[in-house]
Symmetry: C2
Subunit: 201 residues, 2 copies
DNA sequence: ACCTGAACACCGTTCAAGT
DNA sequence: ACCTGAACACCGTTCAAGT
């Protein structure tokens, strides 16, 4: 408290608050997350948050935005190793599931409560589109001969399946040990990928 | 308040509180749900809730339990009309999605925050199993020649896909007008069902 | 038995003030 | 500019008391 930098962030406070929020979410889970606890962890009065974010929702929107960018990067990396279309779609699904398992609290924030009802969070929307673009790109590369609406439907099939699997695993409705993730994705998502490829063939 | 029945429920208060909670969830959404507001809507002091439920979580567990029973009944009804295996699996998926759209707040309660961490809510667990049994029954009827583990994997594929689709629709990440639900389920879930049937063939 | 009043330690948000 | 203190209207939960 005597250290000026400890409670005076010179513009980095926004980032410090996001970092503190992530630590809090990882340590205590999404239920325990409060604006006041995040501020305390960043070393400032809870009122200081309003200097940088409109409200609690806006702070969580930034947390979610970073998550979508990570997810996009993970899926991009997973699909850039080559291999068949089938291999790449399964690798993309595996990256999605691994992200959800690595950051369960952030995953819940990203897909839980609606953070952009009023459409103010443009950066968040762009991050979401960025993630979905990686998914769409793989389907486009695989089936450029097909019409756009059919490829979009296939994208929703793939997204829904991998998202549902991740949500059920994160909620522990479906048990899954770390070392089985690779094989499990192929067992559970294999039929979906095959069905999609056949529909687009 | 002068009417004795208005604030003295003679043992029906538990049910009255669940009903009030459902109204509140339907009207205001899961964010706005509070123990105090549910009690107020039922016409009693908020402390009266603790006479019938251990805590807020236990009240929500009852809300979720009723939801799983409805979901099980809906899926059961949808699959009892006969038709091919493919027709029945698609009808089951449609029932799941329609349930989620009809009761979005309850759907979020059912699959959001973990309501049974300590394993106290046996009735809730049984209701969940009841719903999953309908799903498993359809896959068993379709592929009795296959081994049990493979049918269970297929069950997870189907559940993950239809659950993910429902979650994305409820969160309005995927737009869907009421009158398009029937065709949409066949477009999006068709490839999944075909992939599953081929995997179990 | 069943319900309530008062209290506790929280929460997000607003207003006016301090450096 | 940036942060804080005090206050407001909430929240879930506990304790002791009322009918």
């Amino acid at each position: 408290l005597s250290d000026r930098r400890a409670n005076y962030h010179h513009g980095d406070l926004a980032r410090a608050l996001v970092d503190a929020s992530l630590e809090l979410l990882a340590l205590e889970g999404p239920e325990a997350f409060t604006l006041r606890a995040a501020a305390k962890r960043a070393g400032v009065n809870h009122r200081a948050v309003y200097r940088h974010f409109q409200d609690k929702r806006a702070l969580l929107a930034k947390v979610a935005e970073g998550g979508y960018r990570m997810l996009a990067a993970d899926m991009d990396r997973a699909t850039s190793t080559g291999g068949t279309s089938r291999d790449r779609l399964l690798a993309l699904a595996e990256a999605y599931l691994r992200f959800a398992r690595r950051e369960p609290a952030r995953f819940i924030v990203m897909f839980g409560r609606r953070l952009n009802e009023d459409g103010r969070e443009q950066a968040l929307e762009e991050a979401i589109r960025e993630a979905l673009r990686v998914l769409a790109r793989e389907l486009d590369a695989m089936s450029s001969a097909q019409t756009e609406p059919r490829r979009r439907d296939a994208g929703i099939t793939l997204w829904a399946s991998v998202h549902g699997l991740s949500a059920l695993v994160v909620a522990r409705r479906v048990p899954l040990a770390d070392r089985h993730v690779h094989a499990y994705v192929r067992t559970v998502m294999g039929p979906v990928v095959d069905g999609i490829m056949r529909a687009l063939a």
